[in-house]
């Protein structure tokens, strides 16, 4: 009975997932105009405008960094700080509202680059983020969690198993909801490469979650 219910809800989620349309940044939206105005004010030295600009995009930057940096919040905060400081130095790049329309993509690109650098430095030092391992292990091994929670935990743990490029593609495409072309631009690769990375990554995640759920039953 419970299984049937789970299947039903899964189907409902699957159907709703197919209806999700990827966002595109080709049109100039009112938000972009406001962003452009804020950028112009911040460029003129208005700290309050820069503060509003950060507030508007802080979730995008911090949560993306958090996912790229294996759930380490301190590192994600450092990364977000670096991204916003780089933004402050680069405010002159955004001269018109069209460029302001590309602003989120620019922020994603800078965030991804900063996080890649941080991950590279951590690997070079041979450090293992034990907290991240414990976090993921804790989620996955929680026996009292509900089935849906365990599935989500399994997916999160599976994300940690992916290679850096595959994880980047999945984070930007599936979690952040960008379209494939946008992801390709941000990652500096072709659409075909991103499609391939997404396909491989999703199959790995599926397999990981399946094995995990089978072990739990």
């Amino acid at each position: 009975m419970r299984e049937a219910g789970v299947l039903e809800s899964s189907l409902a989620i699957a159907l709703s997932a197919t209806r999700v349309e990827p966002e595109t940044n080709t049109e100039v939206r009112p938000d972009d105009v406001n962003t452009f105005a804020l950028i112009a004010q911040a460029r003129g030295g208005d700290r309050a405008a820069f503060d509003r600009l950060m507030r508007r995009h802080e979730r995008l930057v911090l949560m993306t960094a958090l996912r790229f940096l294996h759930g380490n919040m301190a590192d994600a905060q450092d990364a977000a700080q670096m991204v916003f400081l780089r933004l402050h130095r680069s405010l002159g790049q955004f001269h018109d509202s069209e460029q302001a329309g590309n602003f989120p993509a620019w922020l994603y690109r800078i965030t991804v680059n900063v996080c890649h650098d941080m991950n590279r430095r951590t690997r070079r030092r041979g450090e293992v983020d034990l907290d991240a391992v414990a976090r993921v292990a804790g989620c996955v091994q929680d026996e009292t969690a509900l089935d849906g929670d365990r599935r989500r935990a399994a997916v999160k743990a599976g994300l940690e198993e992916l290679g850096e490029k595959e994880r980047a593609a999945v984070i930007l495409r599936d979690i952040e909801g960008l379209d494939t072309a946008e992801v390709a631009r941000i990652l500096g690769s072709s659409e075909a490469t991103v499609r391939s990375q997404i396909s491989v990554a999703r199959r790995k995640l599926r397999k990981f979650a399946e094995v995990y759920m089978r072990r739990r039953l």
């Binding site: 997932a17 802080e58 949560m63 919040m73 905060q77 997916v155 396909s199 999703r202 199959r203």
Partner: protein, 191 residues
Amino acid sequence: MNCEQARELAALAASGDVTVPERKALDAHAAGCAACCAEVEAFGVLCAQLAAMREESAPDGVYAAVRARVLAEVGQPRGMGWWTAWAGFAAAVACSLILLVELRPEANRIMVSAGGPAVVEKSAVSSIDHREAPASTSPSQRRRIRRQSVRGAPLAPEEPLVMRIFTDDPDVVIYWIADGSISESKKDTLQ
């Protein structure tokens, strides 16, 4: 289309990343293959779970801390850029080198500028200006200075010995004056 190809497409079809002909081919295969049909469905669930993670957020305090750190740093006057620092360093090195060259002792300058051998001339002069003779010369300089010609009558025992040293630079002449106590054997050597 085989099952492997169908699963590859199923992974992409969940987010609409397939073309219309690909979608038709996948549907046709899934209609006759229960395993692939289940795969299509499972990828849909996976994509929904990933999309749900979009709603996750951090506590407000975390964002506020980042903003505070950024604004504190933005408010500070900008430090020197790396190129400014390097330009300053290069200028300091260049100034030091110029000062070193300018403050070098005269003897050393002759050693540098004199390409060929210096000419040593001895003359018997009773008095001459009392400029200091070069304090010391390096072994390499001594090698380059050689006695070329000695003129004049033999020196009296109490007469001072004056050495005039010519270099390749016509503006630079070095006088070396020895008092009368110089030994006879030394005088003979110099003559």
